[in-house]
Amino acid sequence: MEQAEARALEVIRQDALDASAFLDELAGFPGGDKVKNCMQCGVCTASCPLSFKMTETPRKIMEMIKAGLRDQVLASDTMWYCASCYACSVRCPQGISMADVMYALRTIAIKTARNLSAAFYQTFKDSVRRYGRMHESDLMIRFALRTNPLSLLKMGPLGLRMLMKGKLSLVPPTAIRGAREIAKLYEKVAEMEGGA
């Protein structure tokens, strides 16, 4: 009996530790320190133009964070649906910028996530490192090659019309003069994040 009680207490303590550990982790990100103030009013979910597609609504994700359900939160599709429209952020009565919380969750999840969204943001990051700027055609081609090369065929008709409208160019992108500085910036960031 004593053993069972000890185990139960251990679980309770561990849950509490998990909850505070995840809150502490998020507090290290801009805007993440306010998550603990969430009072579950649901204004974020009501304001979100995409919450109807999410498996867990923004309000629910906030409660899951506070409960320390780190793995479940990071596996959720919620943050990948956020379009950064900031409707929740300007309405939250507790002053929590949910959009910033979503950024924090994505930057944590992207290290292990294997989905289309993660691949897109990673491709964008690599493409800007290469040229210092974003070039739509280069970005879309690299994204397709990374995820589903056959999708290039599907993109074809729209791409062709954009070419004809002069909205895309077949001329290979050139890097900005400061491209080496950009590479250095990426390296410095990686060094600081690696050391953190």
Binding site: P30, R106, I110, F124, K125, H135, E136, R161, M162, V189
Partner: protein
Amino acid sequence: MKVATAPGTEGQAGAATRFSFFPGCSLHTTAREYLDSVVAVMGALGVELEELDDWNCCGATALSSADMLLSYALPARNLAMVSELGLPLAVACNSCFVTLSRANSVFRSEGPWRAKVNEVLAALGRKVSKPVEIRHVLHILRDTVGLDRIRAAVKRPLAGLKVAPYYGCQLSRPRHEFSDPEFPTEMDEVLAVAGCEVVRFDRKTKCCGGALMTTKEDVVLEINEQLLREAATRGADLIAVCCPMCQMNLDAYQGKINSRFGTRYELPVVYFSQLLGFALGFDEAVMGLARGFVPATKHLRKYA
């Protein structure tokens, strides 16, 4: 940067106002007509835009989804260059506006993120010592140039042209010291002095989904259909925008939306600056009014 002058407006606008200008990646590729029309309109109204030399991509919301420190440090390189010039910064793209403003915000007070970003900049021999003043071109038009000066420069009032003003999200959110976060009016005001009939548009700041068109296409087509539906219901001839993402989603995907939802929208989606430039007397071709997938030309013929 060479500034075009609208016919007959030379020397009319009074003393020039100078801004450093961050066009952003889209304005150099898919949104060329936004760049051309903004530069022309600003020049005609006496605002000198000096393109920031060798600027880099702001990173948009893609980088704030991929790498937190990078998403502050990358745009901060631009801010460092602007602060060296000592000019306020003009931005036309909503996404650049929000991203540069977000990076700028870390320089408002001492804190760990300011220190981190400055540590990255120091490795490049750069520094931001105080926040840069960042303005969207719509706010420069309304607040710096002023509606009276715009009205006085209008050569072709677009009377009877019904325009749905669509702002998207990132002009008025999360920064909203210049206008209401949900019902901004600056574009309405600028278009009204150009003579347009600005129709009521309740979804003016409802999201178009932005870059999610690439990763979550089905749902993004759905929310764009709702935007087109309201504009059509309000009797708009066309939709005016101030962001390249909104323009792309509503215009280039309109055909796909029509086939997906069985609708027959044929709504041109143009930048407010194209309409304003046309009203100021610039040629329709110079303003790129036929560059959209749904060309705006037929609605403008009667004013030419």
